[in-house]
């Protein structure tokens, strides 16, 4: 006799994780290495500024909104910040997640309490719903939104919701909900290299390229 819920959890912890890890790591390296190997056309002009410094600076400055943009699109900017911060806190400071990171990398840090984690997760979920609403309510944004965007939105919100349900045992079997939470995270890992989620890795490269190009021309970026 077996417990199908625990069997599913064990599949998520073994085969499921191995598949997701292989696709995520392999996919990320494939795309990053391909971008680096493709390289950029050599600029033979004499540089008017410092491309490296400007490139590095741009990685950080582009994390701040441009002047007037928060007022222009408040939900997009505030919601975007809240989602990213909420997701990061919930992922990086829950004890169970730190145990996973320690197992993977050997690194560890102090855990946050459950109240903070749950608040962060709830804020991230609300932010995602608000962001979806702006995409849906604005005709231009709705037209620009593709299947890929909704897929990424769904894959981003699922681990937050299922994690909250699993920790608080809101409904269903606790072991089953834990398994579903892990599987939702693994779905995110599988989609990561092939969707816009990849920006979590390539944002630094893209910003550096943009910044260094402008820096070479002696312009701000």
């Amino acid at each position: 006799m077996t417990n199908p819920n625990f069997d599913l959890l064990m599949w998520a912890r073994t085969t499921g994780f191995d598949i997701a890890l292989a696709i995520m790591v392999g996919g990320i390296l494939l795309r990053v290495v391909e971008i680096v190997v493709l390289g950029r056309k050599k600029d033979l002009a004499r540089p008017k500024g410092n491309p490296v410094a400007q490139g590095l600076k741009t990685i950080f400055t582009r994390s701040l909104p441009r002047k007037g943009m928060v007022k222009e699109a408040p939900v997009t900017y505030v919601g975007g910040y809240l989602f990213h911060i909420g997701f990061a806190v919930a992922f990086l400071f829950l004890g169970a997640h730190i145990a996973l990171i320690t197992d993977l990398t050997g690194l560890g840090w102090p855990e946050a309490n459950k109240a903070l984690i749950e608040t962060a997760a709830a804020v991230a979920v609300v932010a995602l719903i608000a962001l979806a609403w702006t995409r849906f309510s604005n005709p231009v944004r709705r037209m620009l939104t593709t299947f890929d965007d909704w897929l990424v939105w769904t894959l981003s919100i699922l681990p937050l919701v299922t994690g909250y349900i699993a920790v608080n045992k809101l409904f269903g079997d606790g072991t089953l909900m834990m398994a579903i939470h892990m599987l939702s995270a693994e779905a995110l890992m599988v989609a990561f290299p092939f969707t816009k989620l990849m920006h979590a890795v390539t944002f630094a490269m893209a910003r550096y390229y943009n910044g260094s190009i402008q820096g070479r021309k002696g312009a701000e970026s």
């Binding site: 006799m1 417990n3 064990m10 191995d18 890890l21 494939l30 390289g39 169970a96 145990a99």
Partner: protein, 362 residues
């Protein structure tokens, strides 16, 4: 064994007062999650039960379940209730041996056919019957023969309920649980390695008083296997605060913090260990500083390692990850080089055009 005195006489002989017995019945009622008003009914049933014949079969096991129920403390009311049934066959406890013992089993079966309670501890090897025999009879044959006349079966311990340690990978004897073989009788699974004594006696008391208890999808009494150990653990507040022991002798361990990171399976293990505890409510594994192993769940021996946290992968993922990284990098280099080659080819094939050419083509 059938000539033994009834429970009231046993209680008096062991110096246990009527008040003590009633308190115990109240505890049983509470443990079974029944209304307090039913405590006198349980007491009446235990005092006046017709002492059903019980046949206890031990197969591939370590006798820990018998040890648990008989040696929890001395003397215990659990032990007395255990004695109050007519235990007609238990090859660890009975005085008879060899042919006489087997004759006792057959006699009890014949005299109480269709009415006796069969208790089984230990798993049953099915790959080769010779792996475990009693008096030349294979476990499989003995189980089928004895179960045929049983009113109900209680599978005591994880080995009988789910296969337990003998069933663990690579399962050399082909060990299976009672429920994998017997499918036409009511089976109550009382898993644990070993189960808590009061859980075993409460199931017995429930059977004597009300018949079969409510069971979950794994055949376990809901009263004892309805909630996880994590839900009732006294260390739970530390989990919620994010305070974890990182080692068995670090500051967190000494301060009694949560053992999740040391591999505790409490969040996925259903049992009353954290509330009923062991040795008359003295302690349980987590209280003694060791993470829960999850022994009331199927396949607990193979569930990814006792000391790995539940949130960590249980497979050999590093090798998979390294192979994927190497393959991804190689494909990335190949993709990049192909892109560069395409670019160079396009540059070579490029033909300069001017306005006249465009006019000609249009």
């Amino acid at each position: 064994m059938t000539e033994r005195p009834l429970l009231p006489e046993l209680l008096r002989a062991n110096g246990i007062s009527r008040r003590g017995f009633m308190k115990y019945c109240a505890a049983l009622t509470s443990a079974l999650a029944l209304p307090p008003a039913l405590a006198p009914k349980i007491a009446w049933a235990l005092e006046n039960a017709a002492r059903p014949s019980v046949i206890w079969l031990s197969f591939q096991e370590c006798t820990g379940c018998t040890e648990s129920i008989t040696r929890s403390a001395a003397p215990t009311i659990e032990d007395l209730i255990f004695n109050a049934v007519s235990l007609d066959y238990h090859h660890t406890l009975m005085a008879a041996s060899g042919t006489a013992a087997e004759e006792a089993r057959l006699a009890a079966m014949e005299a109480n056919y269709g009415k006796y309670l069969l208790v089984v501890d230990g798993s049953i090897p099915v790959d080769n019957p010779a792996y475990s025999c009693i008096a030349g009879i294979s476990n499989l044959e003995m189980l089928k023969e004895t179960a045929a006349g049983a009113a109900a079966i209680v599978a005591v311990g994880t080995c009988a309920a789910f296969g337990g340690i003998p069933h663990a990978n690579p399962n050399p004897t082909g060990a299976v649980a009672v429920g994998d073989i017997i499918t036409d009788k009511p089976i109550i699974n009382v898993p644990g390695c070993p189960p808590i004594p009061i859980v075993m006696t409460s199931v017995l008391a429930h059977y004597l008083t009300f018949g079969l208890p409510d069971l979950d999808e794994l055949g376990r009494p809901k009263a004892f296997y309805g909630e996880t150990i994590h839900d009732r653990c006294y260390r739970r507040p530390f989990y919620d605060k994010g305070l974890f022991a990182e080692g068995f002798d670090d500051e967190g361990a000494r301060a009694g913090w949560c053992l999740y990171k040391l591999g505790c399976k409490g969040p996925t293990t259903k049992s009353v260990c954290a509330t009923v505890k062991w040795n008359d409510g003295t302690s349980f594994p987590i209280q003694s500083g060791h993470p829960c192993l999850g022994c009331t769940e199927p396949n607990f021996w193979d569930n990814g390692g006792f000391y790995k946290p539940l949130s960590t992968p249980a497979g050999d993922y590093r090798r998979v990850g390294l192979a994927a990284a190497a393959a991804g990098a190689a494909l990335g280099v190949a993709g990049g080089l192909m892109g560069r080659a395409n670019k160079a080819r396009a540059a070579r094939a490029h033909e300069a055009v001017d306005a006249h050419d465009l006019e000609k083509k249009s």
